[in-house]
């Protein structure tokens, strides 16, 4: 039998204060990054605007592309060279009253690169009002998902546990957002999809640990809550690691092989998987223990 992490006997809960510091620092870094970037950097899905992906053969220098885009009147556009030579991602700056920005840029590029072939790989153009609506819908969806999960967890578990689970959930999604901000990536529709998936994954991991805590509590009535939790975590540790590993394997292959379009999605997922695993042990269980200890202090004698 090939085994990892069998027969663990680690005092996880004793180390929970280190984890609080670690989580606190991660959350703090996320906040600092978000503040320094002036909030999340929303993609054209949410701000409105136009995004173009073009392939030019033979590959020109990025400055030449920038000159052509400026020529078309979109000064201050962001131009990013992609991994494949000759491919550029152009996020157009605003220019009032233009009906066909993509066409203008295409014409300007054609004029500037005589003899080259220019292919428009992708255009995403979102009007400002639609962008606002999509942003509203995304925020609603995130809160709807969190709300539904919260209700489900509250029904299935004691509220003392739910609190920890929900904090862990927000913690994971927030740090994923922080990582997106820190790497200066954009929050697009696909990235929001990743946030929601992280929420589902994070709570999934937490539930497995909590289920075991509940089960152990029946069997170990005389032990301290701390010991019960340590036992439960140790017993489920191999499962936690293995599941995270299989998910991480698939996310990694999406990250490295899935291409530009879902790259940011995979990146957010990767962060989410790592922190989701970590938080189910330290944040969710740690806080569940914290509430339990607190309740014992305020209502002595009603030991549960």
């Amino acid at each position: 039998m090939l085994e990892i992490l069998h027969g663990l006997n680690v005092d996880w809960m004793g180390k929970r204060h280190i984890a609080y510091w670690f989580s606190g620092i991660c959350v703090l870094i996320s906040i600092v990054s978000l503040v320094m970037h002036g909030g999340p950097r929303y993609g054209v899905d949410f701000t409105g605007g136009t995004l173009l992906e073009v392939a030019i053969t033979p590959p020109p220098h990025v400055e030449k592309v920038r000159a052509a885009v400026d020529q078309a009147g979109f000064v201050g556009s962001e131009i990013q060279s992609l991994v494949k030579p000759g491919q550029f991602l152009i996020r157009l700056g605003t220019r009032e009253g233009v009906k066909e920005p993509a066409k203008l840029v295409h014409d300007a590029l054609t004029a500037a690169h005589a003899g080259s072939t220019i292919e428009i790989l992708r255009v995403e153009s979102v009007g400002p009002r639609v962008g606002g609506e999509l942003r509203g819908a995304a925020i609603k969806a995130v809160f709807l998902a969190l709300g539904l999960i919260l209700v489900y967890v509250a029904i299935r578990y004691d509220w003392r546990y739910s609190l920890g689970a929900i904090v862990a959930l927000f913690h994971d999604v927030f740090i994923a957002l922080g990582a997106i901000s820190l790497t200066n990536k954009e929050v697009t529709l696909t990235v929001v999809a990743a946030f929601l998936t992280i929420a589902g994954f994070s709570i999934n991991d937490t539930i497995v640990v909590f289920d075991r805590i509940r089960e152990r509590k029946q069997a170990m009535r005389r032990d301290t809550p701390q010991k019960v939790m340590n036992t439960a975590i140790n017993e489920t540790m191999s499962r936690t690691i293995i599941t995270s590993l299989t998910v991480a394997l698939t996310v990694l292959s999406l990250f490295f092989l899935g291409g530009e379009v879902i790259h940011d999605f995979s990146f957010a997922m990767l962060v989410g998987v790592v922190f989701g695993t970590y938080s189910s042990v330290f944040v969710a269980s740690g806080l569940a223990l914290e509430t339990q200890l607190y309740l014992e202090r305020v209502t002595p004698g009603r030991k549960k």
Binding site: V123, E124, A141, L148, G200, I203
Partner: protein, 537 residues
């Protein structure tokens, strides 16, 4: 094997058979050569000319219908969200405007020849258009976005034009009481912008003045004290005077003599302009009622110019030499062949009841789509291979059971997509890949539990039973929570994102059956057949 085991096995085999049957057209379709596949994608039985052709095309269309469709992000195509501008419509007109616009746009796209376009009304004033496959996107957008309001108007004489422009000058000069009001430009703020005024009914200005003139006209139109008994429209084409390019403004009769709804048919022709043979133009035939009006109007206005106005731009303004009795006319100008083709289509299918604006556009070129498919499949294959390898190495024979369950899960997921006519998008592929990673979780939970029970010196049979029963509740909880967030995503997401939510949700639901039901059945069948003392886990 007990009777109940036999029943379970039987059910599973039936399920697998149904899945394979549902997926068969998909398999057939995607194993065709690219050219043949294109033919299937383009097959339109309604366009067939004879019975045999129709039957053949119907078969191809059925094959297309029954196979898993690729989203616009994978096969390339165009997603347009249009907003109908109802601001200038009355309440009664506004009520039907969106439905009418949807129908007219549908007609235009039909004539353009796109296989499987999807045109849906969305909300109160929006239309969502999805055009898959290779197409000339600029042309498609031009075709869809034109209001195509065709009007015939009489061009005012030079004297009438002059008089109106003078009145506009005075009205504008009154509004600006700036110092130095006695210069020519201050007294003639409008006409001083023109290079020539009312020559043959046209007033010419340089391109850089067009915007300024438009904003002055907007002021005049908004002025309720100004009686504007004519309409003003720009020439649709640029022209040159004294070697400089600019545009002409024409003063026209206010009410149209006739409108595009009187047009019965329209064709692109190359022989309309005697001076420029081969130049594309559009010839049209009017309805009998329209023809009669046209005859009257041309008879009464011999010697004047008749402006053919499309979306408030003058396409051409020929002189009326004589009464035109047959109700036939033509529009010429500097069209490209494609523009003329488009114009003929929009004239045939009629004008939109109100202007439309593109508020969201997403286009993906076919080469990026192809690239996305390849990368998505590669990521999926590598991800699946790693997971399978890990499971088999770590759990050995039991891992193999989990892999069988996983394969059945993906088979079921794809069959559901084909059965529900769901669309596979790139995020959808990501959803499947994630499903692979998450699906084995249920088996990992069970296997870890079985290992624990074995360590607690339970017999193999008891360990299997306890493993499944104790892990089951956790498995349900874990699936429900992930499913909840996928459902929220399905509700909010559009297009590709919804594809992700769909594959993830279906994958999770099927996983409950395969990872728990099927794998348990395999264990039961195997453990009951022989007296087992060991288990490969």
């Amino acid at each position: 094997m007990t009777q109940s085991d036999r029943n379970k096995l039987f059910l599973t085999l039936i399920g697998v058979a149904i899945c394979i049957y549902t997926l068969w057209p998909t398999f057939q379709f995607y194993s065709l050569s690219p050219e043949k596949r294109q033919e299937v994608l383009q097959a339109r039985p309604s366009a067939a000319t004879n019975e045999g052709d129709r039957e053949r095309l119907q078969k191809l269309a059925d094959l297309r219908e029954k196979s898993i469709k690729l989203g616009l992000d994978l096969q390339g195509g165009m997603y347009l969200l249009l907003e109908v501008d109802k601001s200038k419509l009355g309440a009664a007109e506004a009520r039907n405007a969106v439905d009418q616009a949807r129908q007219i746009i549908g007609n235009r796209i039909d004539q353009f020849g796109v296989a499987e376009p999807s045109i849906q009304k969305q909300g109160d004033n929006r239309i969502l258009i999805q055009l898959p496959g290779l197409l000339d996107q600029e042309r498609a957008k031009d075709l869809i976005g034109q209001t195509a309001l065709l009007e015939f108007k009489i061009v005012k004489t030079d004297e009438e034009t002059r008089a109106l422009l003078d009145r506009i000058d005075q009205a504008l000069a009154r509004r600006t009481t700036a110092a130095g009001a006695d210069t020519f430009a201050a007294q003639h703020p409008f006409t001083s912008r023109f290079l020539s005024v009312s020559q043959g009914g046209e007033s010419f200005t340089l391109n850089e003045n067009v915007a300024a003139i438009d904003s002055m006209l907007a002021v005049i139109r908004a002025d309720s004290t100004f009686q504007l008994e004519s309409s003003l429209a720009w020439d649709s084409h640029e022209s040159e005077r004294e070697g400089r390019t600019g545009r002409s403004l024409l003063v026209l009769s206010k009410e149209p003599l006739m409108q595009g709804k009187d047009v019965q048919s329209a064709q692109m022709r190359l022989d309309l302009d005697q001076e420029r043979p081969g130049a594309p133009g559009v010839s049209f035939t009017l309805t009998s009622r329209g023809g009669a009006t046209f005859a009257d109007v041309t008879g009464a206005n011999v010697g004047r110019r008749l402006a053919i106005v499309l979306d408030n731009r003058v396409q051409s303004a020929p002189n009326i030499h004589e009464r035109i009795p047959r109700g036939q006319g033509s529009i010429t100008g500097s069209f490209t062949e494609e523009e003329a083709q488009n114009l003929a289509i929009v004239l045939r299918s009629g004008a939109l009841p109100a202007p439309v604006h593109v508020v969201e556009e997403r286009t993906v070129g076919p080469s990026l789509g192809q690239d996305s498919i390849q990368k998505g499949l590669k990521a999926g294959a590598v991800g699946a291979a790693l997971v399978i390898l890990f499971m088999v190495v770590y759990y050995r024979l039991s891992g193999l059971v989990a892999v069988v369950a996983l394969v059945l899960n993906i088979l079921g997921l794809l069959a559901c997509m084909a059965g529900f006519h769901a669309t596979l998008t790139l995020p959808g592929i990501a959803g499947i890949v994630l499903t692979i990673g998450m699906a084995v979780d249920a088996n990992v939970l069970v296997f870890e539990r079985i290992r624990e029970e074995l360590r607690n010196k339970k017999t193999v049979l008891a360990a299997i039973d306890l493993g499944y029963s104790r892990a089951f509740r956790t498995i349900v909880d874990a699936h429900v929570t992930t499913l909840l967030s996928a459902l929220a995503l399905m509700w909010f997401g559009s297009g590709p994102i919804r594809g992700f939510a769909v594959t993830l949700s279906i994958g999770l639901i099927i996983n409950m059956i395969t990872a728990v039901g099927v794998s348990k059945m395999v264990f039961d069948a195997w453990s009951l057949r022989r007296k087992v003392n060991t288990i490969s886990i």
